[in-house]
Symmetry: C2
Subunit: 306 residues, 2 copies
């Protein structure tokens, strides 16, 4: 149960970037879709196969320079169980290349049901006498609105399987403040209260890096809150969405890092996936374009990191 | 976009009950598992087939007396994409029997990604020139921690497809108060603030029943809060978990109903699914036992409803 495997992967690649894999059909080069529709028809199966081929192309181009990928569950569920199968295949493929896989599912439920989500995404289950691994990601994003009951089952599996979680604290979207910025009677905001809960949930899993297995999602689009939370949550590793397409720049995300340049990983989804559209490259060069954007982003982050 | 289809289904059956379909293998009669493992091995495919056969047995026994089912996504994801396929098959089977299907997914994300979840669970997607329906449930539970951006995409699809959503307000678990009961500076609790947001989100979809397409999840285990929220949220239809196995009784859930006996649907999952274990019935009579428990619960609720 720790954040150490991710920290090691970031250090090895010297790159605090996670590549978001949110492969809706609109983002996928036409030639891949044409191949898959010819083979499987204009079906959910065909769509899911296109997702998978796009992802493997990206992973092949990225695994040497980027330590982690973050598939967003919504973009797989959108293509039915066939899409969810593509999620599972994507996770295994990325892991076969040594990448850390963080499923962005924002799952949440009461205790008994959260055990099921935990087994699904991070753990194992028993089928008769056999043990099976349903999805087997390395980390999962979760929503803490339900409190400890919904987090404790995750901590148990994180301990048993050396996995990590990220709790939504201050999200990157424009309306995140409607609830998250509300002031509590004790003077804290709701997001601060959630952040404190992360420190508490992580108390028993602080590793050599100084960070626990319980991270927080804090958006790059709110640099002030990022800076404030970095100070108040010294053992909480940040997953930072909102860089690039959502408007956050390196100047904004730099507040996510600690004084040693650690403590955070920054996500880019469309920026990397759809780089081929910005460079004017032939769509068949989508993977090379993604790699170049990932290298540019790495330099951008390293320049401000500390 | 409305709650009217569900209200009509409740009135038709004169039963404000939704049967939770949370079919983990532990709950499934041995003879079903034995059949499926013989056919498919002790695999995720075998497990998923057992889920589906258990569900269809329950649906066959319940559809004439219970208006709705609530599959909990976690218990399907736990068996990998094969389990998620069983979810999709279960939704279609229940709908073929005229049941209203409410997927309990507690999904949540920023706007662009929430569009994907919405299309996945309630809407349609384009694959090439074809329109496909990934899961096609009638309703979905969601988490509102991210604010309006995460809710608006749902409202659009609810409008286009006459669907409904339920937002977590006060959940049934013991630790729900850690965040939800925190007092805001303006004197409201976090759950009250979330409840007010439901009224606001539902403003433009109030139907003939007086309720909007935006419902709230409020646990039977907190009867005081249930009573308080029923008064404060006059247009918000409640989905009430926590009856039965979690400790809530009819005396507790009665506060969920309005003065006309409307405005709420009460969930029972294990109570109905696992009724065969309590009656001492042969496990082959699981469906009959579920039906008898559903009839008992109906009488229990009708007696207190008003």
């Amino acid at each position: 149960m720790s954040m150490e495997r991710l920290v090691a992967a970031i250090n090895e690649k010297n790159n605090p970037t996670v590549a978001g894999l949110d492969p809706k059909l609109d983002f996928i080069p036409e030639f891949i879709k044409a191949e898959c529709f010819t083979e499987f028809g204009e079906t959910l199966e065909g769509a899911a196969e296109a997702l998978y081929r796009f992802n493997t192309g990206l992973i092949d181009a990225l695994w040497e320079i980027v330590p982690a990928v973050k598939p967003q569950a919504a973009y797989y569920e959108m293509y039915g169980w066939q899409g969810v199968r593509a999620l599972e295949r994507t996770i295994r493929y990325a892991q076969s290349k040594g990448m850390y896989v963080l499923t962005d599912g924002k799952r949440n439920d009461i205790g008994a049901t959260m055990q099921a989500y935990t087994a699904a995404h991070l753990g194992k289950i028993k089928v008769g006498s056999q043990e099976r691994i349903p999805f087997g990601a390395d980390g999962l994003t979760v929503n803490g609105y339900l409190g400890s009951d919904g987090i404790n089952p995750l901590l148990e599996v994180c301990r048993a399987e050396d996995k990590a979680i990220w709790v939504l604290v201050k999200t990157s979207n424009p309306s995140s403040g409607e609830l998250q910025d509300q002031k509590l009677a004790d003077g804290r905001s709701v997001y601060e209260a959630m952040g404190s809960m992360c420190e508490e949930w992580g108390r028993d899993s602080i590793g050599a890096s100084g960070y626990s297995a319980v991270g927080a999602v804090v958006g790059a689009t709110y640099p002030e809150q990022l800076r404030e939370l970095r100070e108040k949550l010294p053992h909480t590793f940040f997953l930072v969405p909102g860089y690039g397409a959502q408007g956050g720049g390196a100047e904004d995300v730099r507040f996510a890092f600690d004084k040693q340049g650690g403590g955070a990983i920054v996500n880019s989804s469309r920026g990397i996936m759809c780089a081929y559209r910005k460079t004017g490259a032939d769509e068949r060069d989508f993977a090379q374009a993604a790699r170049e954007e990932a290298l540019r982003m790495k330099e951008d982050l390293l320049a401000v990191r500390c």
